[in-house]
């Protein structure tokens, strides 16, 4: 008998096998002696484990045990989520994060263009002008798109910013991440929806 079939016999006993596969395994158990013996063995172990676990009881008194838990809770309580004060509100902060560099760049560009127009040197207008204007006329080639101005940048960035927020929010709310016990932030949420 293949190991795959052994595992499927076990899964069948555990009620974990898909219906179409279940019929085949049931048939195998009926007609194959080795499969039948394996199923009997696994059933016997399942039956043995049904009696449950040995009772284990804490020896510490209620007061002593709680005092230790309480002490740990109090020790960790001062930790707050926002350790740094926010200078500006979230949406304004996000806008400023982009507006400031974009505005600065725009100001520098304007200054350079002005400088370009008032410059009396004959060589400078051609070379200097094209270097500055390129990112504006061909935004695809612009490495960051910053030269396009604040409005465009915000349009491009705004869908990405909430996505990050949504992602981290979902990670904690739905918490499918029961599998990641290292991250205590995911622990309880994952437990909220036990599938069984």
């Amino acid at each position: 008998m293949k190991q795959e079939d052994r595992l499927k016999i076990q899964a069948w006993l555990d009620g974990e096998l898909a219906p179409q596969e279940s019929a085949r395994i049931a048939d195998l158990i009926d007609n194959d002696l080795e499969a039948k013996e394996l199923a009997d063995d696994l059933r016997a172990i399942q039956k043995a484990l049904e009696v449950g676990e040995k009772q284990t009881v804490l020896e510490d008194s209620r007061e002593f045990y709680w005092s230790q838990v309480e002490r740990q809770i109090e020790a960790e309580e001062p930790i707050t989520e926002n350790t740094q004060p926010e200078l500006v509100s979230g949406s304004l902060g996000n806008a400023l994060r982009w507006l400031i560099p974009v505005g600065s760049l725009a100001a520098i560009s304007a200054l350079m263009l002005n400088f370009d127009s008032i410059n009396t040197t004959p060589d400078l207008p051609k070379t200097g002008g094209s270097k500055i204007e390129n990112p504006q006329t061909n935004p695809i080639n612009s490495p960051s798109g910053l030269a396009e101005g604040a409005g465009t940048v915000m349009e491009e960035e705004s869908p990405a910013t909430p996505e990050v927020g949504v992602f981290s929010f979902e990670g904690t709310q739905n918490g499918g991440n029961f599998a990641s016990p290292e991250d205590p932030n995911t622990l309880p949420e994952s437990i909220e929806n036990p599938e069984r």
Partner: protein, 199 residues
């Protein structure tokens, strides 16, 4: 609003009160369920001190996350899952410091049990329940942590394969394989314990 009669209140009432920041109802919850949480930690870690520490840590985490508990499951189920996660975390850290266990190597290479003949084991024929529990406990002690954990989660916590896979950070196939060998090994140990008892 009537004052909560803490000793006689239902778990759910205590949880709702504790969610508002009241610690006294939480203390009652700890008192009611501390044995169960400790027992789960002990069954996985097999060390009294470590189980005590982890169980207390679970209660601390429970308090810190209590507001996120949405009453979709029982409070004890929720707390037990926290405890299990902490135990798995602890075991993973411990495992990293050790070389791979023999069981793990056997799983990868095929193992002794793959070639082992099916053994007829009928444990409940003449044993008392408490005696059988003790025997199972002794046998569980002899299992590797991977095998013990998968058995605890499946047989005692009634978790499905996919839940176990998530918890143990492995594939469903690995869960099936571990569970299979864990059961075979447990049967083998129980048979040898039975023989010891009879001789």
């Amino acid at each position: 609003m009537a004052k909560l009669d803490i000793p006689n209140a239902a778990d759910d009432e205590l949880v709702r009160s504790a969610q508002k920041g009241n610690m006294a109802p939480y203390e009652e919850l700890v008192h009611r369920h501390r044995d169960k949480i400790y027992a789960r930690a002990f069954s996985m870690l097999r060390n009294e001190e470590e189980a005590l520490d982890v169980s207390q840590e679970a209660w601390v985490k429970g308090w810190q996350r209590l507001k996120q508990f949405q009453h979709n499951s029982s409070f004890t189920t929720w707390m037990t899952r926290i405890c299990i996660n902490l135990c798995l975390d602890f075991l993973r850290k411990r495992q990293r410091q050790q070389t791979d266990s023999l069981d793990q190597m056997e799983e990868e290479t095929g193992g002794v049990e793959r070639r082992m003949e099916a053994e007829d084991y009928n444990p409940t024929e003449e044993m008392e329940r408490s005696e059988l529990r003790k025997e199972i406990d002794a046998a569980m002690e002899k299992l590797s942590y991977e095998h013990r954990t998968v058995l605890v989660l499946h047989e005692f916590e009634r978790m499905e394969y996919k839940e176990i896979a998530k918890s143990m950070q492995c594939s469903i196939g690995t869960v099936m394989s571990r569970l299979f060998y864990a059961r075979r090994r447990l049967a083998k140990i129980l048979i040898s314990l039975k023989k010891e008892r009879q001789s």
